[in-house]
């Protein structure tokens, strides 16, 4: 399996948030390294899932790739070339779906106006053509064209997320970045919205960067998986390879924590040993070492680089000093039994 040429690509992305004490001119009391030196790419038509525990920087990375905020360093590439700062193609071709549709839809605009705005801003269609396109989009996400005149608060949560998806779909993007698109919704409608997203992809062929906690969802729809820990990528690879042969102790711990995936095969000793580190005091070396059962001197000293595995699937990379040297058999939980 050859890796297709990437569509969007982040190279060496880094984002730090200054932490200030309360007040407008509060003193700077620290820096949160939300994303550190991450290189990641999304290829045409694929679904890349980004997983990791809360606070690991998934959303921040998503926002950097979606240009919702600028990176402190690092650069975005698009279609094989560095993307200029204000690139109209990127604005059109990369769209974003937020976690909470309550906050991502202007409360005083109608659904129609919300969906039409990217078209207007990007100059994609006008007048009647735009109205037709809005009706089309509403139908595509399972709403009535007549809903165009309603305001967001007149819809249910699931319907609101459908509107957000329609807005993202409006400029016919090549990538949609979705940050936990269903976690704010009722459990009963989560499946419907995910199915809708999968259907839309089948029809329109765009790629997804899907940020999620839910490994069952990853298992169901992702082609590739990227695992973040403390602002860095620790492992990335094709879904099956990563789930069946996790090559980073943190990935294993994540998989262990999900009962359905590999239940009964894990021993308690490989559960995370302590609380995640404080974002203000990052551990030296490999950020995972305080929790890692295999940590030794080098882990406390050096940040491991993402490297391909000698005997692994192409495209499967991990950042661990000891990968391949841990006791065999401990980590190879098979997902085959869990996959639907």
């Amino acid at each position: 399996m050859n890796a297709p040429a990437p569509l969007i690509e982040g190279r060496g992305l880094t984002r730090r948030y200054p932490l200030r004490s309360a007040g407008l001119f509060g003193a700077r009391i620290g820096v949160v390294p939300a994303v550190t030196d991450v290189s990641i790419s999304v290829s045409p038509g694929e679904t890349l899932a980004l997983v990791g525990e809360s606070g690991s920087g998934k959303s921040t990375l998503g926002r950097l790739l979606g240009r919702l905020e600028p990176a402190d360093s690092g650069r975005l590439w698009y279609d094989g070339a560095p993307a200029p700062k204000r690139d109209r193609r990127l604005r059109r071709d990369v769209q974003y779906v937020f976690q909470d549709p309550d906050g991502s839809l202007s409360p005083r605009l109608t659904a129609g106006a919300i969906i039409a705005e990217p078209l207007a801003v990007l100059g994609l269609s006008d007048g009647r053509a735009r109205a037709v396109r809005v009706a089309e989009l509403l139908a595509a996400v399972g709403l009535e064209p007549a809903h165009a005149g309603r305001y967001p608060h007149e819809f249910s949560g699931g319907q609101r997320q459908r509107i957000a998806i329609a807005r993202a779909l409006a400029p016919a993007p090549r990538v949609i970045i979705a940050d936990e698109p269903v976690s704010a919704l009722d459990v009963s409608v989560q499946g419907q919205v995910l199915n809708l997203m999968a259907d839309l992809k089948a029809r329109h062929g765009h790629a997804y960067l899907l940020i999620t906690h839910d490994l069952a969802v990853v298992d169901a729809i992702a082609d590739r998986v990227a695992v973040m820990y403390f602002g860095r990528l620790v492992e990335m690879g094709p879904r099956d390879a990563l789930f069946t042969r996790p090559a980073h102790p943190y990935t294993r711990a994540l998989l262990d924590a999900v009962p359905r995936i590999g239940a009964g095969k894990r021993q308690p000793r490989r559960q995370a040993r302590s609380e995640p580190p404080s974002p203000l005091a990052p551990p030296a070396g490999c950020a995972y070492h305080p929790r890692c059962p295999f940590a030794d001197a080098i882990c406390r000293r050096e940040v491991p680089a993402l490297t391909p595995m000698a005997s692994g699937t192409p495209g499967h990379v991990r950042a661990c000093h000891h990968a391949g040297r841990w006791p065999e058999g401990l980590g190879s939980g098979s997902l085959a039994g869990a996959a639907p």
């Binding site: 004490s21 309360a22 007040g23 407008l24 001119f25 509060g26």
Partner: protein
Amino acid sequence: MIRVIAGRSLESLVVLLLMSLVIYALIGLMPGDPIDLMVQGDPRLTPADAARLKALYGLDRPLLERYGNWLLAALGGEFGYSRLHNQPALAVILPRLGNTCWLMGASFLLSLAIALPIGVWSALRARTGADYAVNLAALAGISLPTFWLALMLITLFAVQLQWLPAGGLQTIGVESVADRARHLVLPVVCLAVTHAGAYTRFMRAAMVEVLRLDFVRAARAKGLSETRVLFAHALPNALAPTVTVVALSFGALFSGALVTETMFAQLGMGKLVYDSIMGNDYNVALVALLLATALTLAANLAADVLYAWLDPRVTFAGRTP
């Protein structure tokens, strides 16, 4: 804390300096400059004379240069001469400052004496008829044009009933405290009535806010007497924001004093500002305006400091939230 106060003071000084330039420039834009007035008053002066005079007084120099010269002289304590009073500007202003302090001080205390108890009383009856009546009265006070209230007071108490003098600082030839006090009654009441309304609303709002808070509920739940809850717990906390807005309203009080002094012929700062502007007495107008600005800025500074002092939770970040 000290450092922050010093920083704020410095900031106020900068604002004052900027305002002095603005006011200087504005005064320069008023109709007729001193030389024009001289020329008008003396038909023998030719335009050439006028130009020579302007050059002599430096009036033909650019604005910033004139301002710089004025500022240097002012920093040396030299504020120029009053055209109307034939005295140094400061000698005109300082006695007026005293009179204004009496008027503003007395009406400030009177309006607080009215507003604070009524505000608290009204907050304790929030959303009842009594509360609405208080709100109605307070809004009425806010909506009264000061100068018209003054006219009404004069009509009633000075002209019709003849209980009190219609204006002036004192009866000519009489030097007694009682006489001066009699002359202060109407102006003080006039100024107090037009400000008590706003203060009542501040007090009420702050008190309603505090009564909602958990610690007041907790104090009640502990079985403390209502009076204790009120005076030991709620009131001190409601006073902090009230004191702040009241101090911030100093500028409004000064504006009111200007009208009141003009209406009741009180020789104070406010009337002086008005008279000097109307009478082209630029040096006095400039200094009096600056003094008023400085006092207002000082009151705002005091508001900030008071708030931090009364409310220990405030860490003294920027005033703008």
